[in-house]
Amino acid sequence: MPSLVETRALTAFYGDFQAIFGVDIRLDAGETVAVIGANGAGKSTLMRSIAGIITNRAEMILHRGEPIGALAAPDVVRRGIALVPEGRKLFSSLTVEENLQVGAYGRSVDGPWTLDSIYRLFPILKERRRNPATALSGGQQQMVAIGRALMSNPDILLCDELSLGLAPVVIKDIYAAFSKISAAGAAIIIVEQDIAQALKVADRVYCMMEGRVTLSGQPAEFDRADIHAAYFGAEPNELH
């Protein structure tokens, strides 16, 4: 049985320079997978490639065994792969509720996620639904961005740098929602610089450095030294 989504020797460019060199990752149904790595490791380029913002050769990305690497973003999201982009990217002239509605634009997809269920997941958004999205705090904006992606009822939710610029207590609130999102049926890929947070929620972890996967497995399989080595490129024995 093919994976929900997998990349095969994916190479991709960030602008003019190559950011990813032959990356293989996979995500199976029901899983939450974390991709960690330092700035410039190629994590966001990986997410943008899967989501179709960057298009590649078709066979480099497979969704349920079918090649989707060459599809553009509108077709990728129609297949049930939604991205919460880095920096949230809310629509500034739309209200909170309109931002959520636009996530389901032009389609009626059966599934657990509707305006009501998203307001149950993040009650504060219901109170603020008539506000311009950009009038919200950073954490609330991140909730809108997650809710907006969920409105398409994706099988696969890609989350790029959720905790960037947020206070630890807010990050905890947001991650608390992930068990519910996962229970509702979505498999999740989380890109994080906050390693502790990523290890806590993930079933499996990929660590990237300079455009390559340097470590992969279940969080329990490796210790801090392994991660340090994969993250920064230092040899484990140098840290012991």
């Binding site: 989501a51 179709g52 913002i53 553009a72 973003a73 509108p74 999201v77 129609r78 939604a82 991205l83 982009p85 990217k89 629509f91 500034s92 002239s93 739309l94 309109e98 509605q101 636009v102 996530g103 634009y105 032009g106 389609r107 907006r148 398409s152």
Partner: protein
């Protein structure tokens, strides 16, 4: 009393200018595209209505209803297959391409219809008027003004109350993120330009029935449309109506003082607004 009469004529003329400008404003608002061929497309639509009237013998209003979907299709194809290719960070390509398009349309019309000036006959409506106390207003100018208000109300409903309008606003904010929502920006832009061409058809109906037009009449219409949009403030449709009215009043007041001053006073009003309110009277930020 004649001053009030002049004012009324100016306001009603403003309705026509608002119709010239509404399509331009819509397209600019959604894709930041300045269409230099806008005026020529109005003239093209006027010729299309003229052809439908003269070959099928239809009433001009019915002819405009026939022409509107054709113009929508033209706008859609033009945007999807030509203008979308010019959009990007650089603002120069769309300017150059639409400038070229303007020349192509003018010369195409010149080939097809000669340089003679034409008029679409609206029958008895042309001279009909209603009197309000001591002043009287032409029925056509009144219908024009009502159409402008109707167009702006309808556009606002579309933009703020429908799923398509939501996609318009989202795409206007951020094209890449809109595509992540499943919106196809190229289709959204094509629909927007198609809608603009429907408004252009309405504007052409009144242009053609109220005044003479010829293949080279487009650029002057473009300037009035620009001035109305800029006076009103970019991105606000009601502002565009206000801009049209200010331009119309300035022109009729100028003409009342000295007929030679009509166009000049309109441009001066525009320059004064630019001087004191460079962002226009009702910029979108103040909405």
């Amino acid at each position: 009393m004649s001053f009030i009469d002049t004012l009324l004529q100016g306001v009603l003329l403003g309705g026509l200018y608002a119709l010239f400008a509404a399509g331009l404003s819509l397209v600019f608002g959604i894709m930041r595209l300045v269409n230099l061929a806008h005026g020529d497309l109005i003239v093209l639509a006027a010729f299309l209505i003229l052809v439908i009237v003269s070959t099928l013998g239809l009433d001009p209003f019915v002819a405009a209803v026939v022409a509107a979907p054709l113009m929508f299709a033209l706008g859609w194809v033009l945007q999807y297959h030509l203008l979308n290719r010019t959009l990007g960070k650089d603002i120069l390509p769309p300017l150059l391409v639409t400038f070229g398009l303007s020349i192509v349309i003018q010369n195409g019309l010149l080939e097809g219809f000669t340089a003679d000036s034409r008029r679409i006959s609206a029958g008895a409506l042309e001279t009909a008027s209603v009197s309000l106390g001591n002043i009287s207003a032409g029925v056509m100018p009144l219908i024009t003004f009502a159409s402008a208000i109707l167009v702006i109300v309808a556009l606002n409903q579309l933009i703020y109350r429908t799923a398509l309008g939501l996609a318009f606003r989202a795409t206007s904010d951020d094209v890449v993120t809109a595509s992540l929502m499943g919106i196809r920006p190229n289709s959204i832009f094509a629909i927007a330009t198609g809608l603009a061409m429907v408004i252009v058809t309405i504007a052409a109906l009144y242009l053609g029935t109220r005044a003479n037009f010829d293949p080279t009449a487009g650029p002057a219409r473009l300037i009035y449309a620009f001035e109305a949009v800029i006076i009103g403030g970019l991105g606000s449709l009601w502002g565009t109506l206000a801009g049209g009215i200010i331009l119309g009043v300035a022109q009729t007041v100028g003409a009342a003082i000295n007929p030679e001053w009509q166009i000049l006073v309109g441009h001066i009003a525009f320059l004064l607004v630019l001087l004191f309110r460079p962002r226009g009277l009702f910029p979108r930020a103040a909405d």
